[in-house]
Amino acid sequence: MTLRVLAAMSGGVDSAVAAARIAEAGHDVTGVHLALSKNPQSYRTGARGCCTVEDSRDARRAADVIGIPFYIWDMAERFHHDVVEDFVSEYAAGRTPNPCLRCNEKIKFEAVLDRALALGFDAVATGHYARVTADGTLSRAVDPVKDQSYVLGVLTREQLGRAMFPLGDTPKAAVREEAARRGLFVADKPDSHDVCFIADGDTRGFLRERLGPAAGPIVDSTGEVIGSHDGAYAYTVGQRKGLGVGRTPDGRPRYVLSIEPVSNTVTVGSREMLEVTEITAERPIWSGLRVPPATPITCGVQLRAHGEAYGCRVVLDGGRIRIALDRSASGVAAGQAAVFYDGDVVLGSATISAAT
């Protein structure tokens, strides 16, 4: 069946090959580049995979090579509100957000998908490395290094039902070769990484500019004040470098254990104290299950992008989820997603609120 497919094209190699594959499969494909900033130069410049005028030109050139119509959609306001402001306010609240995940959830598969469906499209395709199985569940890509199922784990079954990920069955190296073979000059373009809307990669500086200085104490796990900071948002759980606590009472290094926004306190402790086995999470989405699990389930869980998977037991506790890990994990930050897997299949996800 021929589908009308909107291919989101960042200007990078992956989304270009994804669009080419769907067009070649006989679908009626339209390429769309998402303009995420009113001032294209205000986000990353250079060939980093998104957000610049060069990237939109690369995307257009790729669409021309593939032979599909191409448009630019202005998503700047939505992106600013749902991703950038969310990023800042999450840090202000002592959590560590994942903006790529938020962008997939709120921009690509909500704002863009809704508009696409209203305009008569059947599906949205992206260059993500993940698969949607025949029964409509999300699954890891065959290339374990590139697998992006984690940042798509927040999608609902309805969203997945309208999603196409044509690269999930292919290793990255083969995608680059294919791009070159198809005459897509973006074949050599470097992968995008880091946070696309922080131009110089300086997350601390970006947050300081928006949140301003806010001095507070750095407290050891014993309760003793051993240092100070000028903005708790500049710290993430598990961080060791740049704490500025000097020589600690026991002479051992300290790691950030938690950030408490109300008292503006950064709590640090020994490496062992970073290790957690009990995680609480909120706002579960069960895309891989027909109904939320009524009884505790045993499955795998991934706690950060490109992180390892842990075995766990998941208990639903009202709207909350309690996750008991088989073995300890370190540096688990509130605000990150816990994505649950049965083998390679994503069962669902939830947002981490606490870990002990």
Partner: protein
């Protein structure tokens, strides 16, 4: 394919293709002294004479350029520099608020980098500049004005400006008036007379080739300081080897377009009026932008309430109907049109608009097809709503 974007560019006329292709295989730099050069120069000068005759001017008043944008830049920057150089009190540049970016941006650049004071002249709800607005802007300091520029007809909404009246006012004060007539030549009676001192023409908007145009410069106006310095062609105003084939095609197109202007305008006006009436019937709440009567023959510009212009354009494109949301935008991200905003439209109405522009190859079948697909397209775009 239904091509309703002739204001962006229009197919080359057969006469222009013939004149241009006849030259493409020839050798000769029009500045060379030998016989190949003389042959090329003869083509260039005959073309200059053709264009001058068609536009009511003298051959020596035609300066060939690479197109409308270059001609506008030469007029705005060049005349500002030369007038300011002659009298340093002349700092003011008066332009209408609805100019093309080829005029707006050079003027703004002069403001940022050359000490110019740019005044944007307000227009009414139809996009028309009242001559009294110009008179008021000149005020009691005509000696401080370097130049005035008002387009002959607007590229987006098609409104025709009262150029003879404006030129008369400017001439009364001895201030040079430039007009961008890119959209008007071949559609309206145009000539370099009655106080118009500089006039921009573009080849590809009237059935000639891309990449060629001219600035007509009335005798008696101080030559503009060049934008392009080099070999001193075009009486030192615009350097660069002349593009003989393009100039030959350009001249053939100007001649044909001007000779057939009345018949073309009458045909396009009837076709356009039919388009407007039937689109109104199909989409009752549509708003026609621009002057109801005094507009370019082939121009129909609408706002579709509840729709985004981008969505309409994409859906029409998918149905094989090609149009524009305004002037073609290379940057990609749609900004609300400065023309519609200057006419008092809000940003939502400005973003929900489309331009259909008819030209010499347009037929009744094109209008039929647009009218057939537009209700479904508008309904779909409404479902997607406004961002």
């Amino acid at each position: 394919m239904v091509y309703l974007d002739h204001a962006a560019t229009t197919p080359m006329l057969a006469q222009a293709v013939e004149a241009m292709t006849a030259e493409l295989g020839q050798v000769g730099n029009a500045s060379s002294l030998h016989s190949s050069g003389r042959r090329a120069r003869r083509i260039v000068e005959e073309s200059r004479e053709t264009i001058a005759a068609a536009l009511g001017t003298r051959p020596s008043e035609v300066v060939f350029t690479s197109g409308g944008t270059e001609a506008d830049n030469l007029a705005i920057k060049g005349l500002y520099w030369s007038r300011h150089r002659a009298d340093s009190r002349r700092r003011r540049v008066l332009i209408s608020a609805i100019e093309h970016h080829a005029v707006l941006d050079p003027a703004a650049w002069l403001g940022e980098s050359a000490g110019a004071e740019v005044t944007l002249l307000d227009v009414d709800q139809h996009g028309r500049l009242d001559p009294e607005t110009l008179r008021a802007a000149i005020g009691d300091d005509p000696g401080g004005i370097a130049l005035i520029s008002v387009m002959w007809a607007n590229n987006e909404v098609g409104t025709v400006q009262p150029i003879p009246e404006l030129a008369e006012i400017a001439a009364g004060y001895g201030i040079p008036l430039h007009t961008d007539a890119v959209q008007a030549v071949g559609k309206l009676p145009i000539s370099l007379s009655g106080g118009v001192d500089a006039l921009t023409v573009s080849g590809h908007k009237l059935g000639g080739p891309l990449g060629v145009g001219a600035l007509l410069l009335a005798r008696g106006v101080a030559d503009p300081v060049p934008v392009l310095h080099g070999g001193g062609q075009e009486r030192d105003v615009r350097s660069g080897t002349l593009d003989t084939p393009a100039i030959a095609g350009f001249a053939a197109a100007v001649r044909f377009a001007v000779e057939h202007r009345e018949a073309t305008a009458a045909r396009l006006t009837a076709l356009r009026d039919d388009l407007v009436a039937r689109v109104r019937q199909a989409v009752p709440d549509v708003i026609l932008n621009g002057h109801p009567g005094d507009r370019l023959p082939g121009n129909a510009h609408f706002s579709f309430p509840g729709c985004e212009g981008d969505a309409l354009l994409m859906l029409l494109d998918a149905k094989g109907v090609e149009c524009s949301t305004g002037s073609a935008c290379s940057a990609g991200v749609a900004q609300p049109s400065h023309v519609l905003l200057a006419m008092g439209a809000d940003a939502v109405r400005a973003r929900g608009s489309l331009r259909f522009s008819l030209g010499h190859t347009s037929t009744a079948a094109d209008v039929d097809e647009l009218v057939r697909v537009i209700p479904g397209v508008v309904e779909r775009a409404r479902r997607a709503g406004v961002g």
